[in-house]
């Protein structure tokens, strides 16, 4: 039982910063996002940029799955659509980044709406598998449309040029991706203070009841798909400029599964869930590899064993979370805050 909720008005319930400390924490995070990159090396910068891209994609999935309850295993492929839209427009037609980025978002949102249509008829497991099928079909289409996408051979993209600067080094990429990631997360936080966001939550809780209350399921479910996919499109566009080379299999099912797993670990339906989840799926394999790296210099063939052991531990951690902390890392985070709030009246 969560006690200690002393809010007495709706305004108080929907304020963005529930505690002054939240504002402080936010400032601290932004500050560290500004300072940290100058302190870490290029490899960790790369990881942080990758983290930013993941956060955007997972935040989109969070809107779709966490808030609206439409479980999707297609986020990876939608990201692929965004990435390929950017790549084709940039290399084939010479579009600059400020054009490819929004166009990728629009394109992905439109295709997302198309693949969201089954959600009007089915939900739960069936929808999950419909999106899974969508993922396979989209990746297959990207591979087969060779005249457009160059098929399995992949596309190379020139670095993005913004305000006359060529975005090439890890640091430059980071300073493009990190603010965008922050922006997209803030947007999703804000979305759930609006009518649309609340409609999403109502649909998640019980879609028939929501419809009876006057929420148009067609409109809002498709809107959820559009927004969720738009996030994927944004992530994909950044992905294209970040990796500068695309092949279709970067976006296959395992990418979608990774995103969904990250969201669950982070905590579905919470603002910080995507961030926690992305940190988890990037940092944990990294940490495991670092531990393995302590052995391999002395005993190189140990790598043959450490690689599968890393896989095992990764899988076990996910299972452990699902069994022992099903609400994800956000729940732990919330518990910490509750503890601080009620101190000294906490056990």
């Amino acid at each position: 039982m969560h006690i200690g909720n002393a809010r007495s008005s709706y305004q108080a319930d929907e304020v963005m910063w529930k505690r002054p400390a939240h504002k402080g924490a936010m400032l601290l995070i932004i500050l560290s996002l500004l300072i940290l990159p100058f302190w870490v090396g290029p490899y960790h910068l790369m990881l942080m940029s990758q983290l930013g891209i993941f956060v955007i994609a997972i935040a989109g999935l969070n809107i779709l799955t966490g808030y609206t309850g439409l479980i999707s295993l297609g986020q990876g492929a939608f990201m692929g659509i965004g990435a390929y839209t950017t790549a084709v427009l940039a290399t084939g037609y010479g579009f600059p980044p400020w054009a490819t980025f929004p166009l990728s978002i629009i394109m992905t949102a439109l295709i997302g709406i198309g693949f969201g249509l089954p959600s009007l008829r089915v939900r739960g497991l069936y929808l999950t598998i419909a999106t899974l099928a969508a993922n396979v079909i989209i990746v297959f289409a990207i591979r087969k449309l060779e005249w457009l996408t160059n098929g399995d051979r992949g596309i190379n993209i020139e670095p993005a040029i913004l305000f006359g600067f060529s975005i090439e080094s890890e640091l430059e990429k980071y300073f493009v991706i990190a603010p965008l990631a922050l922006l997209f997360v803030l947007f999703s936080q804000n979305l759930f203070r609006t009518k649309i966001g609340r409609a999403f939550i109502a649909i998640r809780e019980q879609d028939y009841s929501a419809e009876i209350m006057g929420i148009s399921l067609i409109r809002y479910k498709l809107t959820a798909f559009a927004i969720g996919s738009a996030y994927a499109g944004a992530a994909g566009s950044l992905w294209a400029y970040f990796f500068t080379a695309l092949t279709p299999n970067q976006f296959n099912l395992s990418q979608s599964i990774l995103f969904l797993a990250a969201l669950i670990i982070g905590g579905m339906g919470t603002t910080l869930g995507p961030l926690f989840g992305a940190v988890f799926v990037i940092l944990v394999p990294e940490t495991l590899r670092a531990i393995a790296g302590l052995i391999t210099p002395y005993y190189p063939l140990a790598l043959q064993a450490t690689a599968p052991i890393t896989e095992i531990i990764y899988g076990l951690l996910i299972i452990g979370f699902l069994i022992f902390e099903p609400m994800g890392l956000s729940a732990i985070w919330a518990r910490i805050w509750r503890y601080i709030d009620r101190w000294p009246f906490t056990r």
């Binding site: 008829r121 069936y126 009841s209 896989e311 996910i318 099903p326």
Partner: protein
């Protein structure tokens, strides 16, 4: 004239392949029926079962016995593995959202694959085939006897499982659990026991499918990925209908063969997914699935 013969031949092959799909899918359907969980790791369990078979076949060979002895041994150990997984991973999640249970099965894939690489390494292995690779002719159409026997085994297993489901106490318990867990509990049915049993039987069918599949492919830790391709079958069949799954399996097998025939081999793997998407849009609960009742 030849073209017609070719279509018949390919159709036959497709239908026979469908029999093996049915065998791969039946375990997933059973688990879904009892627990409402789609076991994404079913293919991986199948792969591990095949490795059991491979190891036992080496062992019995050393003891001078026929490799047929290793089949029941492999089935038994895979069954125990299934039961163990249910007890350790699924049981604690009872009452949680079905969704977390599904994600556990997804995570299980990396755990089992990693363990397999540690134990057996990832070298490709070629376990003995239960049936020799041999081609027979039905009229003019060539038939691979390995596929044929796989089909026969798959079909008989379906009949066997249906008999058990509809005529035995265990079957009644499973069906009762499937239709209403709470009531089943209150009627004194050992629901967790049913779950464990289902996982065991499902794992055993998976192992059998793997043993039949391995001679057609090589045995590597990624054999399990084939399991994902039968998702289309179980969706088309309606997830919880045995008869539906059988028909869907044959249909998908045949459709894949026809795709290969008319469009080329590269379109085969995407075909089932297109079917799934269409089915979900047109007939969401599959061919024979029971429509879920919504209570508001």
């Amino acid at each position: 004239m030849n073209e017609l013969l070719y279509i018949v031949e390919d159709s036959l092959t497709g239908l026979l392949t469908g029999g093996i799909y049915a065998l791969m899918a039946v375990g997933m359907v059973l688990v879904f029926k009892a627990t409402r969980v789609v076991n994404f790791a079913h293919g991986t369990i199948m792969m591990v079962g095949t490795y059991f078979f491979f190891s036992f076949s080496l062992l019995v060979q050393q003891l001078g016995l026929s490799f047929w002895v290793s089949v029941p041994l492999a089935l038994l150990s895979t069954g125990l593995l299934g039961m163990f997984l249910e007890r350790v991973l699924m049981r604690p999640l009872l009452g949680q959202s079905v969704f977390s249970m599904i994600m556990v099965t997804v995570a299980l894939i990396s755990v089992l694959e990693g363990l397999t690489i540690l134990i057996w390494t990832s070298d490709a292995q070629y376990p003995p085939g239960l049936f020799p690779l041999q081609i027979s002719f039905i009229w003019e159409a060539a038939v691979n006897m390995q596929l044929f026997w796989g089909f026969v085994i798959g079909l008989s297993l379906f009949v066997l499982i249906s008999i058990v489901l509809f005529l035995t106490r265990i079957g009644v318990a499973l069906r009762a659990t499937a239709s209403d867990q709470a009531t089943a509990y209150s009627m004194g049915i050992n629901v967790p026991g049913v779950f464990g049993m289902t996982w065991m039987v499902a794992a055993m069918t998976g192992c059998l499918a793997g043993i039949l599949l391995a001679p057609l492919n090589s045995l590597t830790p990624s054999l399990g990925h084939l399991g994902l391709s039968v998702l289309a079958v179980i969706i088309l069949g309606g997830l919880d209908s045995l008869l539906g799954t059988l028909i869907a399996a044959l249909l998908i097998g045949w459709l894949e063969a026809m795709t290969g025939h008319f469009l080329g081999g590269d379109y085969r793997e995407v075909m089932p997914y297109i079917v799934v998407l269409l089915i979900i849009v047109i007939r969401p609960y599959g061919l024979f699935g029971s429509k879920e009742v919504e209570r508001i």
